[in-house]
């Protein structure tokens, strides 16, 4: 099946009524999650995972993916109207988006953000349809050493891109991997670190830990900070269309942001955030009026808003083609795939084409829905921001506990949720990055299995991995990624008497 046949087949799946409904529910929830500061897309995906149990695997993935890219659309609304980013990837939009809103151009900023997101989404889907099959066919030649080196490289790149110091990131990687070793060992079936508990023998579920780290820890922070309701700036429907000059200034930033975002999405880590900052820097550099940036330049909204959506779509490629999650949201989707019994990895496309092509095509349908939702209904979403924070926080608390319990009706999951929330809050206070922990936990089983299989394959001599072209190249890149901060640290020690931490 080539990409065009695949897309046509995918549309026949995505346009079935149950899947259309799933897509609509996903993008609607995603937009609401993006608009409301507090609960992010990862928490929302984790909460709604049990709801997908009665759906088909394709329907479940379509809904969860919709939440993820829908939140990217919604995140721009609060950035522009309140100067409060609904999502971290919309932080940069606050600079020029809010300034535009103050000058009465909120409608134009929201319109350009929505169009940019749509274009980026479309570019991402085409990239996904054409690149993922190529990558998957290459990955069919991957053996355990390739998967092992890919996981190691992914964790290293993720550690370097989150802004955390290398040492703190290493502690988080080790903690995540350590948690992944709880339960039955994959080869021998020996129970590890269960302390006699039958519940723990099944291993720790990813979802309660994700909800705890990203949902409950946020609630604990909100309990201390007591957020106040902000009054958003008004938007009138007739102000939605940008002027011809604004439109002309937005076109190329949208194109550049879409491509840049998509390419960043292929890299492990919080690439949507990095893509927005890179796009902003690029547009400022290329602009004839760089002094307008920060004062309400429309390019500062068009580029980054396209980039974060491009990155969101690009992040699906490693997941769907290789079965390896490179971002926390992808880890949630992988969990959903495993729960629904789908074959993950390069064979997903061959064995479950309805999932791969159905999800890919549904993204296009979802992007059209988002465009229709986000422009005429902007007033409805803005009204959500007028809800008192105590009401939203209490509702999120209830959703966290019910969502966690619904996974397997287990009280242990609820205790894991609470413990993860406390740990997540502590890690934030101590400047550790919980996203690294979650990714290491998600990659742990793949990493351990490929590590043990590589040892069998090489008769205990892991150096042989370097002789394999793909695995060897990835190992060399991993070493370079590891050495880069050490080189920078040594350079800073030579240049300055004050020592900077690695």
């Amino acid at each position: 099946m080539n990409a065009f046949e695949g897309l046509a087949f995918g549309f026949s799946i995505a346009l079935q009524w149950p899947n259309l409904l799933a897509c609509f529910a996903g993008v609607l929830i995603g937009t609401v999650v993006g608009v409301l500061p507090g609960i992010g897309p990862i928490g929302a995906m984790a909460l709604l995972l049990p709801v997908t149990y009665s759906m088909s695997p394709a329907g479940a993935l379509i809904m969860l993916a919709g939440i993820y890219y829908g939140s990217m659309y919604g995140g721009s609304t609060t950035s522009i109207l309140l100067k409060v980013p609904g999502e971290v990837s919309s932080v940069i939009t606050t600079l020029d988006g809010y300034e535009m809103a103050r000058r009465g151009r909120a409608g134009a900023a929201l319109f350009v953000a929505a169009i940019g997101s749509f274009v980026a989404g479309s570019v991402g889907i085409l990239g996904l349809a054409f690149l993922a099959p190529l990558l998957a066919s290459t990955a069919l030649r991957f053996g355990p050493p390739e998967f092992f080196s890919l996981c190691v490289l992914g964790l290293l790149v993720l550690s370097r891109l989150t802004g955390s110091s290398l040492v703190r990131a290493a502690v988080m990687v080790a903690l995540g991997l350590a948690l992944s070793t709880v339960g039955m060992e994959p080869m021998s079936g020996v129970a590890r670190f269960t302390f006699g508990s039958l519940d723990l023998a099944q291993g720790l579920e990813l979802v309660p830990i994700a909800i705890g780290l990203f949902g409950v820890s946020e609630l604990l922070a909100a309990a201390h900070d007591k957020l106040n309701a902000e009054r958003p700036l008004p938007v009138r429907l007739r102000e939605l269309l940008p002027t011809l000059a604004e439109w002309k200034r937005s076109q190329w930033p949208i194109v550049r942001g879409s491509v840049l975002g998509f390419l960043f999405g292929l890299i492990p880590g919080p690439t949507a955030i990095i893509a927005t900052f890179s796009s902003y820097a690029l547009e400022r550099k290329l602009s004839k009026h760089p002094e307008e940036f920060g004062q309400g330049a429309i390019e500062g909204v068009a580029g980054p808003e396209s980039a974060n959506n491009g990155a969101a779509q690009g992040a699906f490629i490693p997941l769907l083609a290789l079965g390896i999650p490179f971002a926390p949201a992808s880890a949630m989707l992988l969990t959903a795939l495993l729960i629904h019994g789908a074959q993950t990895g390069p064979l997903l496309m061959t064995n479950s084409p309805e999932i791969f092509w159905g999800v890919t095509s549904s993204m296009y349908v979802g992007n059209v829905m988002l465009l229709l939702l986000n422009l005429p209904m902007i007033g409805v979403f803005v009204a959500l921001l007028r809800l008192p924070p105590y009401f939203i926080s209490s509702l999120v608390t209830l959703l966290c506990v019910v969502g966690t319990y619904a996974i397997s009706n287990s009280l242990l999951d609820l205790w894991v949720l609470l413990a993860s929330g406390i740990v997540g809050y502590g890690l934030r206070c101590l400047k550790f990055e919980p996203a690294i922990l979650l990714m290491a936990l998600a990659l742990g089983p793949i990493l351990e299995r490929s590590f043990l299989q590589s040892l069998f394959l090489t008769q205990g001599n892991l150096v042989e991995i370097l002789e394999r072209p793909i695995a060897g190249t990835m190992c060399v890149i991993a070493v370079l990624v590891l050495l880069q901060p050490i080189y920078q640290w040594l350079k800073s020690v030579r240049q300055s008497p004050v020592r900077a931490p690695v």
């Binding site: 409950v216 309990a223 924070p389 209830l398 019910v402 931490p501």
Partner: protein
């Protein structure tokens, strides 16, 4: 407690955790395995524990070498955080005995108070309404199996 002391305690905790993992990995049946070509169930956790212990040791050294004038990173008045943790713990303990309706009502009453909703009667009415509506949505629309009370059975 200043940031430096908290950093030292954190690093020491992770050093202890990593060391404990290595120790427990060695005591697993089969341990590290016969040889590198025939690894045991303890090999991977032992490698991970070593990574944690080494990273924590470097973090400990870095913290020792830094000056201790940084701001305290932990909340100064964590009373609301403690209340929220207590409310969530009470919900988990009550859920299998009192069932969803009573536990969720009390959870919402607690969280609405913690997050600052004014008026006890308003809080109680809002909690009751939210509990009832969420119960209907979860059980009827989303088919979630919620626990019934077992105290009287």
């Amino acid at each position: 407690m200043n940031a430096r002391s908290i950093g030292l305690l954190t690093a020491a905790f992770f050093l202890l955790l990593g060391s404990a993992q290595v120790f427990l990995s060695l005591r697993l049946p089969g341990g590290l395995g016969i040889s590198a070509a025939e690894p045991g169930p303890g090999l991977f956790p032992a490698v991970v524990g070593t990574l944690m212990a080494v990273a924590a040791s470097i973090h400990l050294l870095q913290t020792v070498m830094t000056r201790g004038d940084a701001e305290d990173p932990v909340a100064r008045n964590p009373i609301d955080i403690i209340f929220l943790i207590g409310t969530l713990s009470a919900y988990i303990l009550l859920l299998p005995r009192a069932g969803f309706l009573v536990s969720a009502f009390l959870l919402l009453l607690g969280t609405l108070s913690i997050f600052g909703m004014p008026g006890l009667i308003r809080r109680a009415v809002t909690s009751a309404l939210m509990t009832g509506i969420s119960y209907l949505i979860f059980t009827q629309a989303l088919r979630v199996n919620l626990p019934a009370p077992t105290w009287f059975s």
